[in-house]
Subunit: 206 residues, 2 copies
DNA sequence: TTTACTCCGTGAAATTAACCACAAAAAAGG
DNA sequence: CCTTTTTTGTGGTTAATTTCACGGAGTAAA
């Protein structure tokens, strides 16, 4: 009798709700409605209510939702009411930019290990973090508590690097390499490929 | 009697098909099947056939698809059989990384203008490109032929910058700022927010 | 030529996702 | 207290998306 599982597409919208609600919180908005929240992010009020109802009853008729309370609840659902350690593999231009990005730290994601296969970079530091060689990856990742990796290596090295990460205990990968990764079904992968997004838009630019 | 419009979700898969097919092409694979292509990117063969059938008949029974021919067709459908000019707004760490990224040039996207509001950066160069001040944005973008912008400014400046870009003739925005943009319905926006993707994955990491 | 395979394109069926509309709860204003 | 307004949570409906499954075109080999 396991509870019915939540559609992935619903889970994928929760971070957007959370982002909008955290923005409201920062701006001192105490209460909101599915209507107002929906308008701010372009999603129907009914959709938001249906999505949230999958996880419990968070609102009050006539009043709407307490922003603070709903933020807390969504953070708990997404497990972001805790800090997460990240591993960064590939310290090129993009990896360097990600290491400097304050948006991770602000929202509870901390890069704790960085790797690169370029001998010139190994031993240097990136944002206070030493860059280790790829040979040290398995040992250092295995003994860390990181479960998430960001992959910013060239496409040609992405699959073998992913394999290593998984062998080292990584369970989720944010893949910036422009290629599909082949992973076991219990490993979660999300993709970020700006060219794919651009090509999606050029379709409509006729 | 305009032809029925193609679902956006189908359009969104085409760049993934194209990416896999271009990879095959580089590796000398001349022919493939919906089965093989599907396995390589984790999409069912039926789905691929159905998607492609929206645009025409590109395969041959018993043989499958000519990789070269299908690449050509998809490039034409997505309008990426031409070069596209890009505007980059926000030359921070991320903007700098994007300006250096070879993946854009390789696939026909060229950054032709860069802007930043930091007086220290204005006048300097980024990848051979001068950085202009935000005051020059409207004038320079209007007189360029760029229709696509990449937005890598802080969230607090994203909406007003987007408004300016749209006023200057930009019709598609790739938004790296962690917030929803409010734009007219004929403007296309795609979002890249790594934190949102990480939060999607932490849901499953329990 | 014949037989055995392969694999596309597609109508139909099944599944999934989105939307609607309303009862009921809460608040506000007499 | 009563009336009006707001807004949730949800059962039921509609719409969109995916999968199934098959006719038939093409290939291969004897």
């Amino acid at each position: 009798m396991t509870q019915k599982s939540i559609p992935d597409i619903v889970v994928g919208r929760l971070p957007r709700y959370l982002r909008a609600l955290e923005y409201m919180l920062r701006n001192g908005i105490k209460t909101t409605s599915s209507q107002e929240l929906g308008e701010s992010i372009g999603i129907s009020a009914a959709q938001i209510r249906k999505d949230l109802s999958q996880f419990g009853e968070f609102g009050k008729q006539g009043t709407g939702y307490s922003v603070r309370y709903l933020v807390d609840q969504l953070q708990a659902i997404l497990h972001v009411n805790q800090s997460w350690d990240l591993v960064l593999v590939g310290v090129g231009d993009l990896g360097t930019a990600l290491a400097a990005y304050q948006g991770f730290i602000n929202r509870g994601f901390h890069i704790v290990l960085a790797f690169d296969n370029n001998p010139i970079k190994v031993g240097k530091k990136i944002g206070g973090l030493p860059i280790y060689s790829m040979e040290e990856l398995e040992k250092r990742v295995s003994t860390s508590k990181a479960k998430i990796a960001m992959l910013t290596v060239p496409a040609s090295a992405a699959q073998e690097t992913a394999d290593k990460l998984i062998k080292s205990g990584i369970r989720a990968i944010l893949n910036y390499a422009p290629m599909q990764l082949n992973v076991p079904s219990d490993i979660h992968v999300e993709y970020i490929d700006p060219v794919t997004k651009l090509q999606h838009m050029t379709y409509y630019l006729g």
